[in-house]
Symmetry: none
Subunit: 225 residues, 2 copies
DNA sequence: GGCGGGCCTAACGGATCCTTAACGGCAGGG
DNA sequence: CCCTGCCGTTAAGGATCCGTTAGGCCCGCC
């Protein structure tokens, strides 16, 4: 079964789309805003995303950019805005097609078939770790948050890399110190605390209550995806 | 070089399209009817076809179907007909996108980029890399800026080539040094800084604020298309 | 031999980054 | 209640790294 995610804040249109798609044989999941759309995209195996640009919480283009940081799923954009600038912006952000409202259901389904046909035969694995707040691309050595690149210093990156490569696993102070600074610096100092504070300031939404870079008192740190 | 075939029976529109595409860095071949279009498609290595449906000899949809019997090249359809039936027919015949006249050149180029981006996943890495400021032709060993060729020394080219072949990926100093000068020269000196300055002076519009040849302090460099 | 292009070295201002120290919050134990 | 670890945060110094320029060396070419 082909999974399709439909994102629209209009419940009426959402119901119509869901019905039309399901009668055409697709498995449909829905979302009503950008936040929940990105979350749903991480949890379901999707073959295509239909995205309305006019969302209540996040700008639709931002949703595309964030999605594109870790996924290549085809994105078909729906929008009431029909200027060239809007279309160019969405397409260059990573969308695959742009359909202006009002549209006929036949055309939507045809464009959907075209996209699915084109992307039917590719699925390369991606060395990208993603959380709801930031994404880490190990291969490209790059970390971004809310669509924007985050600049990390060499030591910050090294620490983050070690933690991210061992999700949910507890890494001791000693291991981090020797891996980053070398065996000579294995004795505890407060380098680590300083850099963890830096990392959290750059990546965590609430520095006081970290959600992904957790500390295990007296032992070490842990990365929670 | 990214080859694009443009098929249209209106010589005026054809000339406009050809010019717009060439200034964007594509290699354009043209055809004025369906017969010659199918012939041209067999003879040139193409990355994309832009096809006007209103041709004098063969019906456009038939052209798509015939083309699809042996080629998977992305097809972007132009047409004055804007009914759902026309779009569905063309898309289901094998077209990848359907753009109704009149259209803005910006939108056409954006949709073209979207199609090329999608189909680039299957093919080996592109022989031509284009940025808004300069283009690099890996195959022909040439780089041009604002239409004019840029003279690069052998070492400058080697550095640029390595960076461009790994878009957005961070390349460490060590890797650049060993790849360009050999393993013996892996120890840091400042050749690299000198040559990066040279490259930026030749390619970047604002040397002080590089937009494509980015430096990652303490680690290496990154090419941003 | 003169000449020019390409490559390496040296040096300096400026930006970035690492280290260190100091302070406050928090919990547990005396 | 105070004392003591442990952690998080901030700020400032000094060290390191980067970009840039200038000059000298080497080699091929006129």
């Amino acid at each position: 079964m082909t999974g399709v995610l439909v994102v629209d804040d209009d419940p009426h249109l959402l119901r119509i789309l869901k019905l039309a798609l399901e009668t055409s044989g697709y498995a449909v999941t829905t979302a009503v805003d950008g936040r929940s759309a990105l979350l749903a995209a991480t949890q379901n195996p999707l073959a295509l995303v239909i995205l309305d640009l006019g969302l209540p919480d996040i700008d639709g283009v931002t949703v595309i950019k964030e999605l594109r940081e870790w996924s290549r799923v085809p994105v078909l954009v729906l929008s009431a805005r029909h200027t060239s600038e809007d279309k160019v912006e969405a397409l260059d952000a990573g969308a695959d097609d742009y359909l202006t409202k009002p549209f006929g259901p036949d055309e939507l389904l045809a464009r959907l078939r075209a996209l699915l046909r084109r992307s039917a035969d590719l699925q390369p694995p991606e060395p990208v770790v993603v959380t709801e707040n930031f994404t880490v691309d190990l291969a490209k050595h790059r970390v971004s948050r809310e669509g924007a690149d985050v600049r990390l210093t060499p030591i910050e990156w090294k620490i983050l890399e070690i933690l991210v490569r061992n999700p949910e696993k507890l890494i001791t102070h000693r291991q981090l110190l020797t891996d980053v600074w070398g065996p000579a610096y294995a004795k505890d100092s407060n380098y680590l605390r300083v850099f963890m504070a830096q990392l959290r300031r750059k990546l965590e939404p609430d520095t006081g209550n970290p959600r992904h870079l957790l500390t295990e008192a007296g032992i070490g740190y842990r990365f929670q995806p």
